[in-house]
């Protein structure tokens, strides 16, 4: 499992970092994010990239998204 922490980054950096990781073939990818807007953006990006998204509880104030192939 590859891990990516995008907490504290302003838009659109979280989704850019995810895009870079996916382009580098890092799958499955566990992304930790701490705000609603980047979480939505990453989920939308993963969906249009044809990936499966699983959302898990993270540390308080964070969300963990696990992106993997269908």
């Amino acid at each position: 499992m590859h891990k990516l922490d995008v907490c504290g980054l302003s838009c659109p950096f979280p989704v850019i970092e995810v895009k870079k990781a996916l382009e580098a073939g890092q799958l499955p990818l566990e992304v930790t994010v701490d705000a609603g807007a980047p979480r939505d953006n990453i989920k939308r990006f993963a969906k249009t990239s044809g990936l499966k998204i699983k959302e898990q509880a993270g540390q308080p104030g964070t969300f963990v998204l696990v992106l993997s192939k269908e």
Partner: protein, 351 residues
């Protein structure tokens, strides 16, 4: 998509309604103009025609805070290059006052047939493109970290103080007696409109620079639907209300200096991408505990004060040479920040 389109339609409709209720023409909502009016109302600049404590701004920030709290998204954070964010907010305002409106007013102006707004939109897209190029070349915005909980209430506290000043009208607050600053919808209507838009914009993440940015970066059209919704509602509303007037000349609170309309919004788009969002989005983020966005809003207010004190802001007659030079300086500073690591950490420093 449905939610953000709906939000756009509501914002466009509210823009028209606020104008019908007394706000200046094509200025039902304008983040830059309203922050400029607030700066004037507090005596930070002396332009007598644009001084008023706009309740829409108060409502936007408070609405965003309420909904963020209710949805568990109120998180106090900051420290991602605050000085850089101040400069970006400052530049955004200089650019917006060269054009006479933020991206939101640009769409409302276009919906009323003001073709100068089309020129401005070309500039906005160009600025966003420059910002995206900077991101691709490695522009580093810094990383925000948790801040003391009390810091998150400074901005809402300021908004409540502004509301108190608006209602109690103490002697130090200045209210325009003529000009756009004297044209205002009733306080309650403007406040409610601000609250509703603040809530909707927080939920949908509406951003007027984010739409084109996300299309260029990740082919994501989501935010453009909001942009489209505002335009459609404004267009229909303006036609119904008889405000629609197609052309370049004699448009309300606008000028026809095409180059400066274009470059003014180039600055706004460019700064908006580097700062992570347009003026509206900065205000919404500021309500959710993002103290860097608060600093960006402070930068906008300071920019408004300087723009009017130094004669940099445009008027219906056009833009003075000083304003033109200021726009060019802003473009240079943004490029220095975006491509030359000005005010930002290099990769080595960030590591």
């Amino acid at each position: 998509m449905k939610k953000i389109l709906f939000t756009g339609l509501i914002i466009g409709a509210m823009g028209i309604t606020l104008t019908a209720l007394g706000n200046p023409a094509n200025m039902g909502f304008c983040i830059a103009c309203f922050l400029r009016d607030i700066a004037g109302g507090l005596g930070l600049h002396g332009a007598g025609a644009v001084q008023y404590l706009r309740p829409e701004i108060i409502g936007l920030g408070l609405g965003s805070m309420f909904i963020a709290r209710a949805k568990g998204e109120f998180r106090v954070r900051g420290g991602a290059n605050p000085l850089g964010r101040f400069v970006l907010g400052f530049a955004m305002m200089i650019g917006a006052l060269a054009f006479l409106g933020c991206p939101l007013r640009t769409v409302l102006r276009l919906g009323a047939g003001d073709l100068n707004a089309l020129v401005g939109l070309g500039g906005l897209a160009t600025g966003i493109f420059c910002g995206v190029l900077a991101l691709k070349k490695g522009y580093n915005p810094g990383r925000a970290v948790a801040q003391p909980a009390s810091s998150g209430y400074v901005f809402p506290g300021i908004l409540l103080a502004l509301l108190a000043a608006l209602l109690l009208r103490p002697g130090f607050v200045i209210f325009s007696e003529s000009g756009p600053g004297a044209q205002a919808a009733p306080i309650l209507a403007a406040l409610v409109a601000g609250l509703v838009v603040g809530i909707l914009a927080q939920r949908t993440r509406l951003c007027m620079t984010g739409g084109v940015r996300d299309m260029l970066l990740v082919r994501d059209p989501h935010l453009l639907w909001g942009f489209g919704g505002i335009l459609v509602a404004a267009l229909v509303g303006n036609v119904i209300m008889g405000y629609f007037q197609l052309g370049f000349a004699n448009q309300p609170i606008a000028h026809t200096a095409h180059l400066w309309n274009f470059l003014g919004l180039t600055v706004v788009g460019y700064a908006g991408v580097l700062a992570g969002g347009c003026p509206l989005r900065q205000l919404i983020l500021a309500g959710t505990g993002d103290t860097d966005a608060v600093i960006t809003v402070f930068g906008m207010v300071a920019g408004a004060a300087v723009a009017h004190n130094f004669g940099l802001a445009a008027s219906g007659q056009g833009i003075a040479l000083a304003g033109q030079i200021a726009v060019l300086i802003c473009l240079a500073v943004l490029s220095w920040m975006g491509f030359g690591q000005g005010l930002t950490k290099s990769k080595k420093e960030a590591a």
